[in-house]
Symmetry: C2
């Protein structure tokens, strides 16, 4: 199939596919006229990339999965490097959620404080130091 069909079947733009190729994530054979030609392997490869991107993975983080698939493994996460990326992402998510929880608490405390100042008379003297 050519680039237009691959784009349509994967839901990405042709520009995106060329971009993946420029990053070394996607390879293409060429027809005699210079057109890119793809097979089903590339289709699955792009689907793998998109699935990970939907999870918030950066393109570079999908590379081990891509390499794994291209090495002939049945799934992109059949290789140790891919699993390391999974683990790193879990740690990253945990750190981000911790930070978000902390920020959320402080913002909410500020909101409550400011609201009470507008309605009620004086600011309550108690400290709003909640712990998760």
């Amino acid at each position: 199939m050519r680039i237009g069909e691959l784009a349509e079947r994967t839901g990405v733009s042709t520009r995106t596919l060329r971009y993946y190729e420029s990053r070394g994530l996607l390879e293409s054979r060429r027809a005699v006229n210079g057109y890119r030609v793809y097979g089903d392997g590339e289709l699955r490869l792009v689907q793998q990339i998109r699935a990970l991107q939907d999870f918030g993975f950066e393109l570079e983080e999908t590379r081990p999965f891509v390499d794994c698939l291209r090495a002939g493994h049945p799934a992109g996460d059949s290789c140790p490097d891919s699993l390391d990326v999974y683990r790193g992402k879990l740690a990253e998510i945990d750190a981000l959620m911790d930070r978000l929880r902390a920020v959320r608490m402080r913002v909410e405390a500020e909101l409550v404080r400011a609201e009470s100042r507008r309605q009620g008379a004086s600011v309550p003297r108690c400290e709003l130091e909640g712990r998760t």
Copy 2:
């Protein structure tokens, strides 16, 4: 005080202060030689901006707080517009955390699945469809 002192006292670069000014967040009087001159009002203003940025607010989101302070209110969050930004940020954080939780679960499920495939023999037939 001049820009270098304000930068040092707020912990930001002079470039950053000039950038704030270009965005209309910061104003400056000028000395006869053209140098920017700031007072304590601007100091508090920059501190307000940085405090919000540390919470992950974009510069544009700090504008209501800045306007509020410049209007003479005692705090940046003494005005309704600022409280709206607080509320919007809380909603944004909640949505992001919901999304992160979902992604986290799916990534962890993939990890467990892939790990068990590598160690144990066959993939368990059960579906890992956890609900929050």
